[in-house]
């Protein structure tokens, strides 16, 4: 069994917010995300878009993992890896804010 690292544990307990300057809309093929501060558009595949929606409405990342794992019928460990990676990518692009003690 792989032990979780401290930063991952902190992220799982963190709450994710989508800042006001980020807007997104889900389409069948893609979720389009617009960062109004940079003027850049970003695209997420349908799974990524679903993850973003769940991250925004869940109290923390762990709850989002559970919800998505149930939705897709996948192991939580698999979803957790993907979701942590997605959070990293979104945070680096200024598309989410992580409320919790974690340095990326």
């Amino acid at each position: 069994m792989t032990s979780k690292t401290a930063p991952d544990v902190a992220l799982l307990n963190a709450h994710i917010t989508v800042p006001q300057h980020v807007v997104y809309r889900s389409f069948p093929a893609e979720t389009v995300v617009l960062n109004l501060q940079t003027g850049c558009y970003h695209g997420l595949n349908p799974t990524g878009g679903r993850m973003l929606e769940e991250l925004e409405r869940s109290p923390n990342v762990a709850a989002a993992v559970a919800a998505i794992a149930e939705c897709y019928g996948q192991p939580s460990s698999t979803i957790e890896e993907d979701l942590v990676e997605l959070c990293d990518a979104l945070c680096q692009r200024g598309l989410i804010e992580i409320d919790g003690a974690r340095e990326l």
């Binding site: 807007v23 389409f27 093929a29 893609e30 617009l34 109004l36 003027g39 695209g43």
Partner: protein
């Protein structure tokens, strides 16, 4: 005094709101106003987030003396047509966002509160589009109906 903060249209009053054709002089003044608004837009765009750009273009605002909504909508559409035609003649960017920003400026000078809408579509290829709406009615073309609304400013 900071550079780039002056209003090129000082002395060019906004064309009054009324029915009927504009005179030759009014059309020339409008062309100058559109050109000035375009210059201002180009100067601000690229140096600030779009929401800040829109806010700056909306100030200072004018007022319309109790004109009816329908008159304002007609005026907004007339101005939209003038903006589109004028920007097509000017060198530089005449695409939807530039048109929308210039029109927003013109409408604000007349006290007409319009919304700048940005939309996008993902298929067949990704594309984004901007247009202006007044009172829920598009005054610039909103596209072919395939653009989902992302944000209203």
């Amino acid at each position: 005094m900071a550079l780039g903060s002056f209003d090129l249209t000082v002395g060019l009053g906004a064309i009054p709101i009324r029915r009927g054709r504009w005179s030759w002089i009014e059309r020339m003044r409008l062309a100058a106003e559109i050109t000035a608004a375009y210059v201002r837009t180009r100067r601000v765009l690229g140096h600030a987030p779009i929401a800040v750009v829109v806010a700056r273009l909306r100030t200072p605002t004018g007022c319309h003396a109790g004109s009816e909504q329908q008159d304002l909508l007609v005026l907004a559409r007339d101005l939209a047509g003038a903006v589109s035609r004028m920007l097509a003649l000017l060198p530089g960017d005449a695409r939807c966002l530039a048109r929308s920003l210039v029109l927003t400026r013109l409408l604000a000078r007349r006290g007409i509160s319009a919304r700048l809408v940005i939309g996008a579509r993902a298929t067949p290829d990704f594309s984004a589009h901007a247009w202006v709406e007044y009172d829920g009615h598009p005054v610039l073309p909103p596209g072919d109906g395939s653009f989902g609304r992302l944000v209203e400013l």
